[in-house]
Amino acid sequence: MERAAQQAVPLGQMEVFQALQRLHMTIFSQSVSPCGKFLAAGNNYGQIAIFSLSAALSSEAKEESKKPMVTFQAHDGPVYSMVSTDRHLLSAGDGEVKAWLWAEILKKGCKELWRRQPPYRTSLEVPEINALLLVPKENLLILAGGDCQLHAMDLETGTFMWALRGHTDYIHCLALRERSPEVLSGGEDGAVRLWDLRTAKEVQTIEVYKHEVRAHPTLCPPFFLPGHLRCLHLLLCSPPSQECSRPHNGRWIGCLATDSDWMVCGGGPALTLWHLRSSTPTTVFPMRAPQKHVTFYQDLILSAGQGRCVNQWQLSGELKAQVPGSSPGLLSLSLNQQPAAPECKVLTAAGNSCRVDVFTNLGYRAFSLSF
């Protein structure tokens, strides 16, 4: 707030406007380029900024390296979700999905390759697209958002093949369970639904807020036990139960992550680890703030949401570390695990500010890129 007053030079209207914009900017989505050296970030004004990670991480990094290489107006509305294929950057926001060529963008040529709109039922208000999911084996792109359906688009032809209906309120997040293959979707109605991609039918519904965890979080079964036995071990231990639902937050599922046997989901209800085969929750992570993004990383679970910090959890439910970032709330985490650029292997976090925090080491924040 005091930024405007701190400037010595009197500002013109444009600078004032831009300053105000940056004050109220929210970065919703990130995506790493296929070569791993660049990071794209999409914000609530519809802009996408490309940052050069390699430049920012190098030893001669200057202040400008932390600024975007190129910024362009991608959408009219906020860019809620971005995903990269091996050549394209796909971004989605207000009802449309657009594709950009990475090669083009890096040369600062910001022209969309194509744009598609899934067939929506209602036309009164264009629903947003909150989540994009790539299914590389089938070359599918799955979109989900405000119209409560999952649309599948074939990336080659660009046609929308089917739509999965089942959610009663809009969908927040998608996750892919590779083994089956199944798609998990979490929505505002509080349910995580599992859909079989081949049959295009709903397989299972887990209403998270109705469950409670039976097992004691500190009694951690040994890791070498296979999944189902681990679950059994947890179940057989004596149970003081913890409820998943937190009514004052609501029941919406904001984030999902899965590694085929296990699923972690959070949002209004507490962040919980579930065993998918038996559909039982096994661990409740004691985090009061609703989490907006969660992901598995090695043997940890990383989550971020309301609150400055990136939280690192053990599978047993213990908090390993809380690393503060620079934004008051985080909406998106991105792990650059592209094999082509191992030196840029960083965790980037972005949310309710114009900055993207870069963590080179999970223990602390190295620096921030800013719009």
Binding site: M1, A4, A5, P10, L11, Q13, V16, F17, L20, Q21, L23, H24, T26, F28, G77, P78, Y80, L124, E125, E128, N130, G146, Y170, H172, E188, P247, H248, G250, W252, G254, K292, Q306, P328, G329, L331, N352
Partner: protein, 619 residues
């Protein structure tokens, strides 16, 4: 003395010559009766006169002897002792004679007494017999007189006269041939006939009684039937009430109301009539009712005779109480004041329903002595209002109706005549009593048809229907708008009280817009750090300020921003999701039209207003 006593004993022994031992008298009494010396027998033989003479002689001798002894003793001498002794013996003999004579006298006395006694007893016995006989005689005489006086009951009976008797009585009773001659038999016959008649009459009487019983029972049954009819009729009436309501013809209710309305004082009556008429004709949301005690209203108009009786009683009571305690001057004045400000027991209750289901309850009272009407107001809302401090007074009954018409505060009495009345009892102004009695607004007086010209006081004021009718419609509309605007204001206050906004104004205002930072204190402190929606609201106001500039040169920016902030706050509070685990209605019921409540990963509320369509959506 012992010698004398032994001598005394001796004569006893000597006297009883022939008896072996006197001591054994009792034992030998029965066997020796003949030999036994009985003095009683001797007494009969001797002559009492001679005994008396003997007594006198003996006494003389004794006196002589005593004198001689005296002489001798005084002379002394030797042979004096022998002489004395001799004389002493003689005197002893004389003493014995005296004793005997004494005994005889006693015995004679005793005998005489016995004889007297016997004779007396006999006389008594005869006397007693005589008494008994006399008593018996008297008794018998009484009996005789009684018998002679006995009146047989048959003489009390009014027997039928002889001719009738002979006419009516059947011959086996009358027995004319016998009875003609013999009055006794005649009377007997007549008595028989009387008995016969009486028996017949008794029979008839019994029959009549049983008849009567039967008829009484029938009457009872019929009465019960009638009395059970009344509650059935009542229940039919009750049952018809829902039908009445269904058909919107509440006759019964209206009838009752009109009944009670008859007891209303004139201004309240005018109000009632006009309000009901208005309600039926124009405004279905208006309902009129009468509250209060009809009996008290009737009591105000009691006939004068009763009050006179009461007066005499109360005079007596008053005297008593004045003897005990005089009420103080202040208490008297207080009583007079209370009397002056007395309200009529009936009041008219008007309920104005507004569109959002909140109801304005108006209760109209009539102050009898002051001839003005007052009103008390109360607002009830469909949902419970949580009153923030700043909005405390908005809906308070005291002020919700003030200044409905310009200048009409309702603190002063509109009737100029009241001023003189107040002076008498020391009331300065009606303002002090307004909370209790209600507000005497001018429009209330007009609704009741009371017209007070401002210039001169009048003694009587006529109540006027036309005055009331002309004001009714405007007043009702004003009341409704007042209530709605107050409620809306209340809500605004409630929502705004929770919001704090810090504004930074740059000297280059209006080209450089003010920046708002918001902090909402509701269910916890929410700022842009912890609530995405607050951030969105700030961004609406800070970033999208170009929309809010208004016409050039855009000086209205701040006010427009504030206004938009209010609207955003409304949207925020109304669309806040209701916590299902907590019971109760929503604190801010949703009134704005929104397409979707949440959108996007941040779950932002719809803050963008679409102008002509009038709904909220997301940016």
């Amino acid at each position: 003395m012992s010698s004398e006593s032994s001598k005394k004993r001796k004569p006893k022994v000597i006297r009883s010559d022939g008896a072996p031992a006197e001591g054994k008298r009792t034992r030998s009494d029965t066997e020796q009766e003949g030999k036994y010396y009985s003095e009683e027998a001797e007494v009969d033989l001797r002559d009492p006169g001679r005994d008396y003479e003997l007594y006198k002689y003996t006494c003389q001798e004794l006196q002589r002897l005593m004198a001689e002894i005296q002489d001798l003793k005084s002379r002394g001498g030797k042979d004096a002792a022998v002489e004395i002794e001799d004389r002493r013996i003689q005197s002893c003999v004389h003493f014995m004679t005296l004793k005997k004579l004494n005994r005889l006298a006693h015995i004679r006395l005793k005998k005489g007494r016995d004889q007297t006694h016997e004779a007396k007893q006999k006389v008594d016995a005869y006397h007693l017999q005589l008494q008994n006989l006399l008593y018996e005689v008297m008794h018998l005489q009484k009996e005789i007189t009684k018998c002679l006086e006995f009146k047989s009951k048959h003489e009390e009976i009014d027997l039928v006269s002889l001719e009738e008797f002979y006419k009516e009585a059947p011959p086996d009773i009358s027995k004319a041939e016998v009875t003609m001659g013999d009055p006794h038999q005649q009377t007997l016959a007549r008595l028989d006939w009387e008995l016969e008649q009486r028996k017949r009459l008794a029979e008839k009487y019994r029959e009549c009684l049983s008849n009567k019983e039967k008829i009484l029972k029938e009457i009872e049954v019929k009465k019960e039937y009638l009395s059970s009819l009344q509650p059935r009729l009542n229940s039919i009436m009750q049952a018809s009430l829902p039908v009445q309501e269904y058909l919107f013809m509440p006759f019964d209710q209206a009838h009752k109301q009109y009944e009670t309305a008859r007891h209303l004082p004139p201004p309240l009556y005018v109000l009632f009539v006009q309000a009901t008429a208005y309600g039926q004709a124009c405004d279905k949301m208006l309902s009129v009712a009468i509250e209060g005690s009809v009996d008290e209203a009737k009591a105000l108009f009691k006939p004068p005779e009763d009050s006179q009786d009461d007066e005499s009683d109360s005079d007596a009571e008053e005297e008593q109480t004045t003897k005990r305690r005089r009420p103080t001057l202040g208490v008297q004045l207080d009583d007079k004041r209370k009397e002056m400000l007395k309200r009529h027991p009936l009041s008219v209750l008007l309920d104005l329903k507004c569109k959002d289901d909140s109801v304005l309850h108006l209760t109209f009272y009539y102050l009898m002595n002051l001839n003005i009407m007052t009103v008390k107001a109360r607002v009830t809302t469909a949902t419970e209002l949580i009153t923030p401090i700043s909005a405390g007074d908005l809906l308070s009954p005291d002020s919700v109706l003030s200044c409905l018409y310009p200048g009409d505060h309702g603190k002063k009495t509109p009737n100029p005549a009241n001023q003189y009345q107040f002076d008498k009892v020391g009331i300065l102004t009606l303002r002090d009593y307004v909370l209790d009695l209600g507000h005497p607004y001018l429009w209330v007086q007009k609704l009741g048809g009371l017209h007070f010209p401002k210039e001169q006081p009048q003694h009587t004021v006529i109540t006027d229907h036309s005055l009331s009718a002309s004001h009714m419609e405007t007043t009702m509309k004003l009341l409704k708008t007042r209530v709605q605007s107050r409620l809306a204001l209340h809500k605004q206050f409630a929502s705004l009280a929770k919001l704090q906004a810090a504004v930074v104004l740059n000297p280059g205002y209006s080209s450089i817009p003010p920046i708002f930072q918001l902090c909402l204190n509701w269910k916890g402190e929410k700022t842009n750090n912890n609530d995405d929606n607050i951030r969105a609201m700030e961004s609406e106001v800070n970033v999208c300020y170009k929309e809010l500039c208004g016409p050039r040169p855009g000086h209205q920016l701040l006010t427009n921003q504030l206004q938009r902030l209010c609207v955003l706050l409304d949207v925020y509070l109304e669309t806040e999701s209701h916590d299902d685990s907590v019971e109760g209605p929503k604190e801010f019921p949703q009134e704005k039209m929104c397409l979707r409540l949440f959108r996007g990963p941040s779950r932002i509320k719809p803050f963008k207003y679409n102008h002509p369509q009038g709904f909220f959506s997301h940016r």
